[in-house]
């Protein structure tokens, strides 16, 4: 009677560990928003909230001038998304139930323009309105994505997570921590 139960537990742990391989990646982008007569297609990372961005800022084109796609393994990595003149330094300071604790600094060349601490949720993107640049606007966008085996793909989780998948993610993470 005990052996089927043991097998079941082993199967469950195996399934959880396999699914725990799907790590998270943070996409950080420096985006110039502006109004142009013939707007280019929106970058794939922003498609999920394209309308929200248009409604918020009133621009019809969003062009990525610098980006970084960082897979987080420990939740304590740091990285840079850079363009010619701007750089966004992201310093992850740990992972919690709500997402990743990030310290973000926007540099204009060597000058720090803006600094912020944020808890970046896996299901809610962060948009920071930067300075006006010419006729456009600099935006900083951070999105958490699922990342399988370190390779990013275009799947976003910008909707509020449904309770079942949220529960599954927590379970997966708990089991994953056991095997670290």
């Amino acid at each position: 009677m005990l052996r089927p139960l043991l097998i079941a537990v082993v199967v469950m742990l195996a399934v959880s560990v396999v699914s725990a391989d799907a790590a998270h990646a943070v996409w950080s982008g420096l985006v110039i928003a502006e109004n142009v007569p013939q707007p280019a297609a929106i970058p794939p990372e922003l498609t999920k909230f394209e309308q929200t961005l248009k409604d918020l800022f009133g621009y019809n084109q969003f062009e990525v001038i610098g980006q970084s796609n960082k897979t987080l393994k420990t939740g304590e990595e740091d990285w840079l998304a850079t363009s010619k003149y701007f750089s966004l330094h992201c310093d992850a300071r740990g992972e919690n139930e709500g997402g990743y604790n990030l310290n973000l600094t926007l540099y204009k060349e060597k000058d720090a323009l803006l600094q912020t601490d944020a808890n970046l949720s896996r299901s809610s993107p962060l948009v920071i309105k930067g300075p006006q640049v010419g006729s456009g606007q600099l935006l900083l966008v951070l999105v958490v994505k699922e990342d399988d085996h370190g390779q990013t793909h275009r799947r976003h989780r910008v909707e509020p997570a449904n309770p079942i998948s949220a529960g599954f993610n927590r379970l997966r993470k708990a089991v994953h921590r056991l095997f670290r």
């Binding site: 052996r3 089927p4 139960l5 097998i7 079941a8 537990v9 199967v11 469950m12 399934v15 110039i32 999920k48 909230f49 309308q51 929200t52 961005l53 409604d55 918020l56 001038i65 610098g66 363009s83 010619k84 003149y85 139930e97 709500g98 204009k108 000058d111 720090a112 323009l113 803006l114 600094q115 912020t116 601490d117 944020a118 808890n119 970046l120 949720s121 299901s123 809610s124 993107p125 962060l126 948009v127 309105k129 930067g130 300075p131 006006q132 640049v133 010419g134 456009g136 600099l138 951070l142 910008v158 909707e159 509020p160 309770p163 079942i164 949220a166 529960g167 599954f168 927590r170 379970l171």
Partner: protein, 170 residues
Amino acid sequence: MKTFEEKWTAWLDGQLSGRELVEFESSLPDLAAAEAEKRNAHKLGAFLKKELGSQALSNEEFFNHQIHERIARENGNPSRTTRSTWWTIPRLVWSGATALALFLICSVAIMRQHETGGQSEYLTQILNSTVDPAANPNATVAIFETKSDNKVTVLWTEGLQTLPADYAAK
């Protein structure tokens, strides 16, 4: 404690004796009828022995060979048969169902445990924010969340120094 049927069978076979025999016979409602039935049973037994006992097997050697082979097969590899009984389909089904049940129980338990966090844990939160006061003395910041399904958290700055279009270069 023997049942009546067991005692009856033993009595028919003549295996009851002594006090047990006396007690059983006294418990019978009609001893004479029972004796008659006993005689009939013996007659039937004798008849069956006589008619069926002498029937010989037509393929005796083949039958023996089959039996010997089967015995040898079963004796020769006992561990294999024992092991194979473990991964039967019903057991696999039960294991799967138990795993699923455990998973659901754990999921529900963990979900309930964290339910107190509510929806806020699904949203990005800005903890603090500062703008370089030297370069942007009039800058202000505001934080809000969009009402759309995407729940975008926005840090809205005003009064930052405007930069020339060259700064939009990649």
